[in-house]
Amino acid sequence: MNAMTMSAPERLLDVKGLSIEIDTRRGPATIVDGINLHVNKGETLGIVGESGCGKSLTMLSLMRLLPNKIKVKSGTANFAGRDLLTMSKSELRKVRGGQVGFVFQDPMTSLNPVMRIGDQICEPLIYHKAMKRADARIRATELLRLVGIPSPAERLDAFPHELSGGMRQRVMIAIGLACDPELLIADEPTTALDVTIQAQIVDLVKELRVKLGMSVVWITHDLALIAGLVDRVAVLYAGTVVEDAPVEELFANPSHPYTRGLLASIPKLSDVAANRLSSIGGTPPEPGRRPLGCPFAPRCQLAEDICRQSVPPLEPLGGSGPHRVACFVAQRQLEAA
């Protein structure tokens, strides 16, 4: 199950040097700065970071769904041998919904309110698989059963407002899975849901990715939520990957000061005595005012002169292996040890 145990795993998605800019009144400002990411076949990647660090934009940009004022400046995104960022619009439409399924953050507003959910699930089937309506409805019933909706056949004719938030998110997942995608991108799919429903959705995706053998990218700001779900985690800070490691390794040996801060700010029951939640001081840099060196340096307690002057590259910790970190201090500490 774990991708690192296989030899030279095949990369399904390989993003290289992706930079995204936003047009502001003061000119273009970089939001995502030369990101490198990859997803192996059958692997589940968690992308973690605080609000505004560019997690969602990165994934939206891959499907070329960015809002008008935000543009990709440079980079490539190789998906199954083709570049998503330069392929023709008709090719892209086949990838969208066909090979890559998308699950959005807010199930309350991501379903068309005037369309029955059955019709919404049938839409990609009719479009991508050229299915007849009747066949598509049968498949839609199967999909609803697959995502754990009781009495799926009756539910086909329900409108979104007749379903609860958790049910709607299951419907969204069913739509994302409709065409057997090779990759499912879930953009904070549980943020709008109750904690118990969050756990159900996580379990559902965990079960489905094994059953369907697909890769999953799960975007979240909640490290603890996805600990049991993902194989590998990429930690994003201010539009760059600061640490990328198999999930057990990341929890056992967090190396970037930001990752450590994130892990420390997960509240634990044993902390009750302390009475205060730990947090990372300061705020991420604004898009137009990125620091010269490491973007985290202004908030970092370990920052040295070199951190403020040049950007640390994302390199394997200790020279090789799957654990990569972009931090001068962490790399040197390991050498010294």
Partner: protein, 318 residues
């Protein structure tokens, strides 16, 4: 022990949809139902009236000119001895045909242009909005008068020439010239409000997450516009169309009244009112009958429009 309901059929309240909810709210609104009733009666008269009227709208009874209302002539007769009741019913047909065709053309143009302007934005939006502004800035009446005055005679002459050349009876009916010019010029002045309404709706819908979700499904722009954008913009449009039908009837009457609409002898409320106005001191029924029906129709559409507005936008009312 009571069993716990488990299937959706038992768990749910009666199945509802946005439209069904709106319908229930509409039915509870007495004024709207009155308006709907009036419209249905008038529509029935327009559709079947001509087969039920006691007299042909052209047949003259010169012995009974300007007769007051009686059982033989419910609304009396006019200066040529024609039955006013029959003429009002024929006028209903004219009014409905003009209102429906004009509104249909105007809504089609307005929805198409408004949806494109709102969805694509940019230079297309600027051109379309410039076009609506220009159209709206020209006085409606003036535009219609100019079009009819300048095109009607040449077009009729051309029809005449075609008839003489081909002897095709189609070209003999100059009534088509009337209708085409009336439809065309009225549609030309009626589409901009629909375009603006739809554009505003689409602008707000365009940025909703379900549109991004639809794009992420790989659907084509055409499908997204037709199945995701327009259906969600349609509520305010229905209200506007209902009011617009009433407005179109008044417009048609106004133009006929001024002599640039449907020409006599085709009965139209407007030219009946125009004729009646000249003699109303002596024969008030000639003015009262068409004016009352026109008033009733306008009130009917207006009440229904208000009712639909309350039914489709429940938050905005009360």
């Amino acid at each position: 022990m009571a069993t716990i309901p488990m299937t959706p059929a038992e768990l749910d309240e009666p199945k509802t949809s946005l439209w069904r909810d709106a319908w229930y709210r509409l039915v509870r609104n007495k004024l709207a139902i009155f308006g709907l009733f009036v419209i249905i009666v008038l529509a029935f008269a327009a559709a079947f009236g001509p087969y039920l009227t006691p007299y042909d709208f052209l047949s003259q009874d010169l012995d009974a000119r300007n007769a007051a209302p009686s059982w033989a002539h419910l609304f009396g007769t006019d200066d040529l001895g024609r039955d006013v009741f029959s003429r009002v019913i024929y006028g209903t047909r004219t009014a409905f045909v003009v209102a429906i065709v004009v509104t249909a053309i105007a809504v089609t143009i307005g929805v198409a242009l408004g949806a494109m302007a709102g969805f694509f934005g940019g230079w297309l939006d600027r051109i379309i909005m410039w076009l609506t502004d220009v159209t709206m800035s020209v006085p409606n009446l003036l535009l219609v008068v100019v079009i009819n005055a300048s095109l009607k005679a040449p077009l009729a002459a051309w029809m005449e020439a075609q008839y003489m050349a081909t002897l095709n009876p189609f070209f003999r009916e100059t009534i088509w010239v009337d209708f085409i010019l009336v439809f065309g010029s009225m549609a030309l002045i009626s589409w901009p409000p629909y375009a603006r309404l739809v554009r505003a709706q689409v602008l707000s819908i365009r940025s909703r997450p379900y549109i991004t979700a639809a794009r992420a499904l790989g659907l084509t722009t055409r499908i997204i516009l037709m199945r995701y954008v327009v259906p969600n913009a349609v509520g305010p449009l229905i209200v506007s169309v209902s009011a617009g039908l009433g407005t179109a009837m008044v417009l048609e009457s106004a133009f006929s009244f001024l002599g640039v609409g449907v020409n006599p002898p085709t009965p139209s409320w407007g030219n009946m009112i125009s004729d009646g106005l000249r003699v109303w001191q002596h024969y008030p029924h000639l003015l009262a009958a068409p004016a009352a029906v026109l008033g009733l129709a306008t009130v009917g559409f207006s009440f229904l429009g208000d009712g639909l507005n309350d039914a489709l936008n429940p938050r905005g009312s009360k």
